[in-house]
């Protein structure tokens, strides 16, 4: 094995990675390709590319004609972006407090915050619903934002506090001696240094929120607060499913996460490989 040339290893590594990429992208590929085909063609030859004969935009016209679709899109974006901002801001602040300050119950607090990683928030659905009813927040985007922020915080605090422990004490102390406030130290010295970790957290937080069907269905099923995932369900009927529309809606739903991902991706890769490349 040791005699294997670097070229051979490179080829092998790439073969594995390419195979994995193909497998991972295949469902997405099928969805996008079929969203551009007529209903008949989808069933006749699901794997075929659209050609002049089978090309059909009926899915997209249906989706776009369904007037609320843009509303759904907007709801999803608002919920995802605001929750993400909340998770990153509060998660980073809590992580900074846990990693930087010595206070009674520090370790206990860290454990308590990390517990949420292991206990799915859905177990608390009934209590959450009761709380939202009591607070008059049912069928508001605020309800979803609050739940998603809570859902994302444990992992964010856990990952970010690990990274913040690695930020040089000397740097923070230099800031203190120069008269920077703790907020300035946090925002201008510490946050930029944990940017890769922030991006990692952002991606891992954002995707489950964007894809969630459970909480929109329970907390905000009203027409004006529907998210895109919930909105796409109108095309899935008990007896007939409008596959053109479903596939088109899903294809469209990929775009915003993709854009957010591209924003974070360069940092993300640095975050994931931080331990390995240092």
């Amino acid at each position: 094995m040791a005699a294997r040339s670097p070229l051979g290893r490179t080829i092998a590594a790439h073969a594995v990675l390419i195979a994995y990429t193909l497998i991972a992208l295949f469902p997405v590929f099928v969805i996008v390709v079929n969203s551009f085909k007529s209903r008949r063609a989808i069933f006749a030859e699901p794997l075929a590319l659209p050609n002049a004969e089978t090309f059909d935009l009926v899915g997209y016209t249906t989706v776009l004609a369904q007037g609320d679709f843009f509303q759904y899109f907007q709801n999803s974006l608002i919920v995802t972006v605001v929750s993400l901002a909340g998770v990153l801001l509060f998660g980073a602040m809590a992580a900074f407090a846990l990693s930087e300050y010595r206070f009674r119950g520090n370790t206990l607090m860290g454990l308590y915050l990390a517990l949420g990683i292991m206990i799915p928030i859905r177990l608390g659905t009934v209590a959450i619903l009761q709380m939202m009813v009591a607070g008059g927040l049912v069928n508001t985007l605020t309800a979803l934002i609050l739940v998603y922020t809570a859902q994302g915080l444990p992992l964010a605090v856990f990952i970010l506090s690990e990274f913040m422990r690695q930020v040089s004490d000397d740097l923070k102390n230099a800031g203190r001696i120069d008269g920077l406030s703790e907020y300035r130290i946090f925002f201008t010295l510490v946050l930029p240094l944990v940017r890769p970790a922030m991006a990692t957290v952002a991606v891992f937080t954002m995707i489950p929120i964007w894809n969630d069907l459970w909480f929109p269905l329970i907390l905000a099923p009203a027409e004006e607060t529907k998210t895109i995932t919930l909105g796409s369900q109108v095309f899935i009927g008990q007896f007939v499913t409008n596959w053109n529309a479903v596939l088109s809606a899903l294809s469209l739903a990929i775009i915003p996460v993709m854009v957010l991902y591209l924003i974070f991706s360069r940092q993300l890769i640095r975050g994931i490989t931080a331990g390995a490349v240092k």
């Binding site: 000397d170 102390n173 230099a174 800031g175 001696i177 120069d178 008269g179």
Partner: protein, 331 residues
């Protein structure tokens, strides 16, 4: 009145007492070096002076004012760190000017102050660069410049030379000594390197396990150590410790510096055999094992001894130090 006074200062982390009651007066304009092995609490003591760490008990006074509850930025101190700790997002000029900016000084004042500091350290060509574009030595000079700009009452250095290579370390050491002369400022300097301590200090404070072992001018410590720890720590190569009983003396330990231990192939007091030879050109170090353990002999000029050759060692009794069983000096 001292520029810095410590009175019964202690520090406890959880249940471990890291600093065990330090009393110290640093005079105005003095260069005071804290020296001791790694982990003895030098940095902790320095951070307490800076206000970065709370004092568990005791008082810290700067210029006579008790500063226990004063924020670091308000203590009129400046600190230079081992890891430089430059702000990565700011240029050299902004790094140096930040403290003044925070203190609300005008743009013109900041510019004057940073230019003056840059002039003292030959940093002018680097002023618009970022820390990532500087070498280690340049970064440390910028960090020192950042300290000068503030015109502090007290300079604090925490092992500022430890990350530099040997040649730069000597050059920067000389630069710090020159700054001390030019500025006449009070400086407290932490190091684990006794050479740095000896060459820079007006006064050395030797620390061990959170306690002050001895305070004095470098030559006082060298010529008049209070105990075996100070005797062994100050001076390089290390002092030899011989079992006084075996030499017919009433004390417990006899300390003798390597240059005061004579070596001969014919006759002497202690029988030993050569284990290793280091020829440094100007001097030769002979390591020899005897019933007292491994001893070092320092000879001037070039000498040759075969490894494993039998030799005789003779301490110069008039230059020897006597210690009791607890390691305290017998005078």
């Amino acid at each position: 009145m001292g520029a810095l006074t410590l009175q019964g200062v202690t520090k406890t982390f959880g249940t471990t007492k890291v600093i065990q009651g330090v009393d110290l007066e640093v005079r105005d304009g003095e260069f005071c070096v804290f020296v001791g092995p790694s982990g003895c609490g030098k940095s902790t003591l320095l951070r307490m002076i800076a206000g970065l760490e709370d004092v568990s008990s005791g008082d810290v006074r700067i210029d006579g004012t008790r500063v226990n509850d004063v924020a670091p930025a308000k203590r009129e101190i400046a600190m230079v760190f081992q890891s430089y700790a430059l702000y990565p997002h700011l240029t050299v000029r902004d790094n140096m000017g930040l403290a003044l900016k925070q203190a609300g000084k005008s743009k013109a004042e900041i510019r004057d102050a940073t230019d003056r500091a840059a002039g003292m350290l030959a940093l002018e060509p680097l002023m618009e660069r970022r820390p990532a574009e500087l070498s280690g030595g340049q970064r440390q000079r910028v960090a020192i410049g950042r300290a000068i700009v503030r015109v502090p009452k007290l300079f604090l250095f925490d092992e500022p030379l430890s990350n530099l290579d040997a040649a730069l370390r000597v050059a920067t050491r000389i630069e710090i000594a020159r700054l001390h002369r030019d500025l006449g400022a009070t400086m407290v300097y932490v190091t684990h390197d006794q050479v740095e301590a000896m060459t820079l200090a007006d006064r050395i404070v030797v620390l061990r396990a959170g306690k002050v072992e001895q305070v004095g001018a470098p030559m006082e410590l060298y010529n008049d150590p209070a105990n075996t720890f100070v005797a062994g720590f100050i001076g390089s190569p290390q002092m030899n410790f011989l079992k006084a009983g075996a030499l017919g003396l009433s004390s417990d330990t006899l300390g003798i510096r390597p240059e005061h231990l004579a070596i001969s192939t014919e006759a002497g007091e202690i029988e030993a055999s050569v284990t290793h030879l280091e020829k440094l050109g100007g001097e030769t170090l002979v390591y020899a094992r005897s019933e007292h353990g491994l001893q070092t002999v320092r000879l001037f000029g070039e000498h040759s001894y075969a490894v494993d050759a039998p030799v005789w060692l003779t301490p110069d009794r008039s230059r020897a130090f006597h210690f009791d069983a607890a390691g305290q000096r017998l005078r």
